[in-house]
Symmetry: C2
Subunit: 670 residues, 2 copies
């Protein structure tokens, strides 16, 4: 191991809180940290993986082949682990979370071509099947004897699931469904792992029986031969081609031409059908709700972890890189001494921590509400759904920006792939359109807010996350006087959110005079989106306040100070960024804003001495970070230069293109 | 040519202004349009280029080799063209502008490995040489008998040029300079085309003579053998490795170990040296000012053109894609009918046009001021420099966001490389750190603003772009009453900018009591940056107003209305986005903001019927756009599906990784 750079050494010596305590808090307990570490070691230490190979120099096809190689090595270990946990996919969550983080972070940076197997495919085969189907399919899935994916999105339809065109028509004579792709826009398009990897898919299609359409239902459909891997008769399948990121995710297209599958391949946990073709509607239509919700929660956690990685890289680099003397004849300071740099790096750092807190909170809430649902209580489903949609949108957008900001904070070198930002940026931004396009997500949250405001007007009691709407009504048009405590900041943002919600509500009501309710809402879309954004910011801050206060009660005083400052920076930055909305509806003065700006600067100064402890406390191994700028040793220039050796162009002194093209070109005009 | 989609056809039929008139206005006259078209045809029509090959499927090395092949084909034509224009690089500007747009847009999406030849290398050899040197070198450069680049940035120093460490020590006995790289951080790192392509470089180094350092001077240094292309003795050179974008730009590293070059290789337009080693300082030290300024102007234009391309793709796609019925049982509308979609697409579209206008304005201003400088008048250099720095920062940041927004407006499909956003996003974002890191740029502009405010306080008359500071002082602390004309909007933003400038100025003054002036400014960095941002927004809007009013006086009424609406959307959106700052210092009410919001929506509605005409008027050929979603014919799904054929993974039905890895893996747990 190379020596630690002096610059980082001296920073680490100044840390005055217990880093390991931070780590344990961040990951939710010492047992979780130990499990995380042992899993990472198990998955990453295998020399067969050959992780030192930089796959970004390979061709598209070679990258895919290498990804399959790495994934099969890794999933063999995962299968063993899952067997040890009893094959229960819920219990296996911890394994899979680490797996995802390793596959994205390190083993397969450009996406895991088997990822769907233990996420959406397993989830659907677990959630949408009846007992008989479970018995038949689950062992094959868990043992990877069949490889599968989940095929929802089509070329012509993404977020609007009802618009899907693939058909499954029941033939009561042969007791089969006939799957068809009626048009080019009906091609399944985008499902991960589908292009050349899997042999099964859970396919969503419009079910037709007895001449009638019963809407979208899920079917398990074999698509490739288990022995030869050739597409089965009637199946057209392939790779959708190169993307901004997830190059080895093997997203595919899939079309059906009279593909017949047996009756029992209709997944019948919810809807039921009789063999004669009689369709029995499910009691509630929350078909994919759980799966999508769970995927979105994973996205939030992934986003928080990617932000943490980006902030780690930017922080360490800023403590090593020296540039631009402050006084003309001074030596060049560490760039972190520039206030502008602190602002660029520490705000994303604080945000990363807050987002991790919120994502953990949502995980717990999700588990709670799932338990309520399985015992027949669906009351809080709508609230969770609204929270989950809007927060997915805000956090994926803000997370992407934060990663990009950290990258920009590293100047030109941040643009190098070896810096480690590029791949996580491309993964993170995908979440802005994946699992529900962000604007559609906001509009769903906004719809909930409109209904909730109507309830509040009628004096109904609201749940905690939206109770501020009732408080706002009680203000009776008086302007809130700004108070600069953390809860005062929350109240100010809530007031702005409530005001925007009310304005959107009024505009809808006005428009209803001339338009249908749906048209009125559609024409108010821009304001609804903004209302949802503001509401989400209130949720983030509210959850953060409660969770950090809880944590402060449990940790040491030194760590408590660190967490308090994380909340301070996050809260102050948030209200400053939202000041355009807040100022409209809250009595906040220019002096208040100046004071907040001062607090922001003070908070940054506090981070100046604690940030290295925090990012070390994230406990990312160098393998996970995979960054020349962010390695633990801080030997930035040595690492940067070492990475140039991986460029295949440097394998030869003179590239053949010189003799083929350059030399004749230079001589042509002599 | 495939039939035009009905969806686009019906839109085009509704356009009520003359598209060709728009094109001619946009490019500054019919002659320029004709020249642009004929050059594009000349450069792009060559079948040898084999442009239908999608290079993103190739390996890193193959991509470079293909880029060299395409560039040499293209530059042969360029040399002929330059000969026809008399070899004058200024006159050749139009050729080079189109070349850059073609190379980035279409011929070499990932950067042109010969790009520096006719930009920075030629520019430096033209600007920094004396007459003798010109006579010796220029013909070789213009004929491409030697290939060169400009080597400034080092591993340890980018924007802070004074910190460069490479040394050039004069040896009066042999009459040579000895070039050395004293440390790892002194390695030249990043110069484009340097890794394996060029054989010469203009190198910046600290000049030592007679035991004294005379600061940074430029030298022309041979680095590879013209016949064998091997690095010359003492030279270490190679590729810096993979990056987020510009993969074929061949950015390189370069180190010197006692490399001797003759006396005459010191470029002596400015500083002079005698053969005995006596150094004669230049009268003014604007060494690279012109080149950097010119590069930044190019960036602004490139940014505007890339934004225009992104907006074209998003607009056309939004007029074809159908999703999510507004009323439950209605057919699915074109997604452009959703207000939120109009907001996402049309604001970037308006911004693209405004940025193009501003970049053309700056080009003219730059030429003017250059003429003034060459006749010894340097008065307006500082103003231009400040404008150029800040606008580069704002426009590259906003441009990147606009492209990303257009991509997100295309949902999941926007993430496909074939959509056409990916490569331009990666190119555009590079401009945020390239040619001067954005924060450093803002701080330079802010420094100018601080000086200017001091002048204003002293009653000095200010130039047009900053005259609002004097007006602000004349307000004498009274709050501006908001008036909602376009100039009223400008005044409101100017008031906010002036207020922020004054606050930053005051905070510096306060801090000066305890710190040096430089420290005081450094500690006020965050506020200075914001002040510069706001100032730049005033400049953008001010230039836009003047230029669009000029244009409206010249064009047809129908086109005038289009331009007026472009300005309206840009101005209203700008003030709404900046409302947090404006509300602090201007008497603007919640009602004013609601009215602006209404105007925004009305303006979007106007764009609804005109946007297709505007984007057609940008006159991007399908080859330049290179987008499945944005092609002229609007056959989105056909184009998307056709692009999947280019995926090399689809060359075989079954990839070899199935037999090598997947099958054994599936069988292992049977």
């Amino acid at each position: 191991m190379p020596a630690i750079s002096k610059d980082l050494q001296e920073e680490r010596e100044k840390v005055n809180f217990n880093i390991e305590e931070f780590t344990n808090w961040f990951y939710g307990g010492i047992e979780k940290v130990e499990k995380k570490r042992s899993l990472e070691k198990l998955l990453l230490s295998d020399p067969d993986l050959n992780l030192s190979l930089d796959t970004s120099y390979l061709s598209y096809k070679e990258q895919y082949e290498e990804a399959i190689r790495r994934s099969t090595i890794t999933y063999r270990k995962v299968i063993d682990l899952l067997k040890k946990t009893g094959g229960n996919q819920i219990k296996a969550g911890a394994v899979l979370e680490v797996l995802r983080s390793c596959m994205i972070g390190c083993i397969n940076k450009e996406g895991d071509p088997l990822m769907l197997q233990f996420t959406m495919f397993l989830f659907m085969m677990f959630k949408l099947t009846n007992d008989e189907q479970k018995a038949e399919w689950l062992p094959k899935v868990l043992n990877c004897n069949i490889l599968g994916t989940y095929a929802q999105t089509e070329l012509g339809h993404g977020t609007n699931v009802r618009g899907l065109e693939t058909t499954a028509t029941y033939d009561p004579i042969t007791k089969e469904f006939i799957i068809n792709t009626p048009s080019l826009s009906a091609y399944k398009f985008w499902p991960g792992n589908m292009g050349h990897t899997v042999n099964y898919a859970v396919v969503l299609a419009q079910l037709y029986t007895k001449g009638q359409c019963y809407g979208i239902q899920p079917f398990i459909v074999p698509i490739r031969d288990l022995e030869t891997h050739k597409p089965l008769p009637g199946i057209t399948v392939g790779d959708i081609g190169n993307k901004m990121g997830y190059m080895t995710m093997n997203n595919g297209y899939l079309a059906f031409n009279n593909v017949r599958i047996p009756f029992k391949n209709l997944l019948m946990r919810n809807a039921k059908m009789l063999e004669d073709g009689t369709f029995i509607k499910p009691k509630i239509s929350v078909l994919n709700y759980g799966a999508m919700s769970s995927m979105r929660n994973s996205i939030l956690n992934d986003t928080a972890m990617m932000m943490s990685r980006a902030a780690t890289i930017a922080t360490r680099y800023s403590l090593v890189r020296r540039q631009s003397p402050i006084n003309p004849n001074d030596p060049e300071p560490k760039i972190i001494e520039h206030k502008t740099q602190q602002y660029k790096v520490f705000v994303p750092l604080a945000k990363a921590i807050i987002y991790r807190i919120v994502s953990s909170y949502l995980d717990e809430l999700f588990t709670q509400i799932q338990q309520e649902s399985s015992s027949g209580n669906f009351d809080r489903l709508n609230e969770l759904h609204a929270l989950n949609c809007g927060l997915k949108a805000v956090m994926s957008e803000e997370g992407t920006k934060a990663i990009e900001l950290c990258r920009l904070a590293c100047g030109g070198h941040g643009y190098l792939k070896s810096a480690g930002f590029d791949s996580i940026y491309r993964l993170c931004t995908a979440a802005q359109t994946g699992e529900g396009e962000n604007t559609v997500m906001h509009l769903q949250t906004a719809r909930y807010l409109m209904k909730t405001f109507t309830k509040a007007r009628n004096g109904e009691k609201l749940t905690e996350g939206v109770a501020y709407l009732s408080e706002f009504i009680n203000l009776n048009g008086r302007r809130l006087i700004f108070d600069d405590s953390i809860r005062g900041i929350l109240r100010a943002i809530q007031t702005a959110a409530a005001s925007k919600i009310v304005i959107a509500w009024k505009h809808i009501e006005e428009r209803k005079k001339n338009f249908t309710a749906e048209e009125a809402a559609s024409y108010t879309g821009i304001e609804l989106t903004r209302a949802s954004e503001l509401h989400c910011h209130t949720c983030l801050l509210q959850i953060a306040i409660v969770e950090i206060e809880k944590a402060i009660g449990k940790v040491s005083r030194a760590l408590g100070e660190v967490l308090r400052n994380v909340l301070e920076l996050y809260a102050v930055d948030t209200i400053l960024k939202l000041s355009g909305d807040v100022l409209l509806f809250v009595n906040m003065t220019a002096e208040d804003v100046e004071k907040l700006q001062k607090r922001l600067e003070n908070s940054l100064q506090f981070f100046r001495s604690t940030a290295i402890g925090i990012v070390d406390g994230f406990d990312f191994s160098d393998q996970i970070l995979d960054s020349t700028l962010g390695a633990y040793d801080g030997n930035v220039y040595e690492n940067l230069f070492a990475a140039t050796k991986k460029s295949t162009l440097n394998d030869e002194e003179v590239n053949k293109s010189f003799h083929l093209y350059l030399k004749p070109f230079m001589k042509a005009n002599l």
